[in-house]
Each structure stands twice: as structure tokens, then as C-alpha cells.
């Protein structure tokens, strides 16, 4: 089972879009994919139209009040472990109850998990406790990065966090940095991409996610982009990314 955590503490970089559409593209190749929404804003849950009222969510799974399978929501091509705003309170509770080992909460809750080829975790836009749980669980990070100047500051911070976790004795690899919202018309986008590749070399995915209307429209229809516009630019980019991830092993 391959585990991937999609992380960036900056908001609006394409984390949820990447988690959903990479998951859908991997599923298209016949893989069983579980998407875990670890964000109290529940963007991934909403974008796929998952209804959570009266049902356990990732919050209950983290506190061991529910088994993961009880909270899973199967869709036609993906399985979703949804989130809800309650998760913000749960995060505080876990910090109170497990002050020294809270980063292990997700890893512990998923200890007996089987039956998936890929588990993709979508983190909130922060480097707080929930993100740390996601990082420690998978040990493999995919970092979507806007091809803009301000996004580079955030990247340095994540890399610092990776170093800290590694030094604490947890295995941690950077699967890749994914240039997102790439605008072919601007020289800034081109320059950031060019320099990123020059500087970080094989740590940058060859695939670039171009700006596309279909990526923005798909969540409004509660769909991933591959189901919404199978022949569009967004679907094409995420299929290319899935191929790269599969090559990585």
C-alpha cells in the first residue's frame, strides 16, 4: 500500500484538487484508492459531494470512537474518509490527551488498514498537529506549489519541518514538488518552473498542472476532473502525474 500526503501550509495552492484528481487518475488505471480528508474545512469531502450528517468522520477515527471502515464513504471510483468542522475541536482534544505522541494518531488509527493500493491524505493549510499526523502516517510528501514568488517562502518552511521530523527518527521522503496553476502566458510562471528544476532537480515532477477552468468547475458538480471533462487539459495533466507516481513505485 503506497501512502502519499499532499501538503502545503499555504492555502489555495491546489492541495485538494491534486488529492482528488490524482486519486481519480490512479483509480482509472485500476488501482484501489482511499482519499483521507484531514482538513476541518472539509474541502475534499464537499468537492466530491459526500454527505456526513449522522455518520462518523475522520474525527471519530482519530479518537478511536469509530473504526476506519465505519467512516468510509464509497464512490463509484474512489473511497473517501470524509471530514467535518468538528475535526478542529478533535485536534485540540488529541493534543490534550496525547501531548507527547499526538503525531502518531493517524498512523495508530490506520494500523490494520488493508485493501487499498493508494492512500492519499489531504492536509489543512497549516503546519499544525493535523498536518503532522498526515506527514508521519505516510512518510512521503507531495507538495503542490503555485508558480509564484510567495509560494517559495512556504516551501522553505515545509522543508524545515521535514528535516525536523527526520531528525526525530521518522522516515520522511519528498515524493515531489508539483508546479500548479501554471500560467503559460506569464514569464513569472516560466521562470519559477525553470529555476525550480535547476535548483531542486529530480525533486520536481516533470508534470505541470496548468491553469484550467475545468479544474475549478468540477467541484461545483461534485465530480473529479476526469469524470467532469475527461478530454480536458486538467484531466490530461493529472493522468500524466499519475503515470509519474506509478513509475516512482
Amino acid at each position: 500500500m503506497r501512502k502519499i500526503t499532499v501538503i502545503n501550509q499555504k492555502g489555495g495552492t491546489g492541495k485538494t484538487t491534486t488529492a482528488v484528481n490524482l486519486g481519480a487518475a490512479l483509480s482509472e488505471t485500476g488501482r484501489e484508492v482511499l482519499l483521507v480528508d484531514l482538513d476541518p474545512q472539509a474541502g475534499l469531502t464537499e468537492s466530491l459531494g459526500v454527505e456526513t450528517s449522522g455518520r462518523p468522520t475522520v474525527a471519530e477515527v482519530l479518537t478511536r470512537e469509530a473504526e476506519p471502515r465505519e467512516a468510509f464513504h464509497p464512490l463509484s471510483n474512489l473511497t473517501v474518509l470524509p471530514s467535518s468542522p468538528v475535526l478542529a475541536e478533535t485536534e485540540k482534544r488529541i493534543l490534550r490527551e496525547r501531548p507527547s505522541d499526538y503525531p502518531l494518531a493517524l498512523k495508530d488509527a490506520f494500523a490494520g488498514l488493508r485493501g487499498f493500493d493508494f492512500v492519499i491524505v489531504d492536509c489543512p493549510p497549516s503546519l499544525g498537529a493535523l498536518s503532522l499526523m498526515g506527514m508521519v502516517y505516510s512518510g512521503s510528501l507531495l507538495i503542490p506549489l503555485q508558480t509564484q514568488y510567495m509560494a517559495l517562502n512556504g516551501l522553505e518552511k515545509i522543508l524545515g519541518m521535514v528535516k525536523t521530523i527526520r531528525e526525530a527518527g521518522f522516515p520522511m521522503e519528498i515524493l515531489g514538488i508539483l508546479p500548479c496553476m501554471y500560467d503559460v502566458r506569464t514569464s513569472l510562471s516560466r521562470q519559477v518552473e525553470e529555476h525550480l528544476r535547476e535548483t531542486l532537480r529530480d525533486k520536481v515532477f516533470r508534470t505541470v498542472i496548468r491553469q484550467s477552468v475545468s479544474l475549478a468547475e468540477a467541484p461545483a458538480r461534485s465530480k473529479d476532473v476526469l469524470s467532469y471533462q475527461p478530454g480536458g487539459r486538467g484531466a490530461e495533466d493529472y493522468r500524466a502525474l499519475a503515470k509519474e507516481v506509478l513509475r516512482h513505485g
Partner: protein
Amino acid sequence: MAKKTLIPAEKWEGLRHAMEEAAGTRKTSKTPVPLAEAAGEAARPERGKKRSAGEKGKEERTGEKGKEKKEKKKKKDKKGKKKKMKGKKGKKRKGKG
């Protein structure tokens, strides 16, 4: 025509350094600390960061902090004197009336 550089070279150098440390190709001498503690420290915003003992020692050696304290004390003393003067004037007026 030369290409206009939109992002300074130092920025990329900093990123390269951070990536080497994150990937473990650049060795650091830090001793392991419990993850919960270390992560809390790493996630803390720069402004609230505690100063290291070395930084504090440097200030003491160069006497920067001492100088600041002396200047503040001088200013405080001057203000105190002025207030006293005002007080005397007030009393005089009271006596005359």
C-alpha cells in the same frame, strides 16, 4: 535582450540548502529531540522564536543591552526632575493665595 530576473538568486540558494537538509544530504549536528516538541518549535512563527544562549551572551559581551538600559534610566530621571519642578511651582502659587 537580456532576460529580466524576477526572483533573486539568494532565494534559490536558500531553497537548495533547505532541500539538502530535508533530504538528509547535508548533515546537521543537531541531537534528536521528541517529535511533538520539535514540531511545535518548527511550526512556531519566526517572531515568537526564543533567542539562543549564544545570542544572549553576545549582547552581554558587547554591552548593547547595558547601554540601552542606562539611556532609559537617564531619560526616566530627567522626566522625574521636571515633574518635581512643576510640583514646587504649584505649591508656591497655593501659598501666595
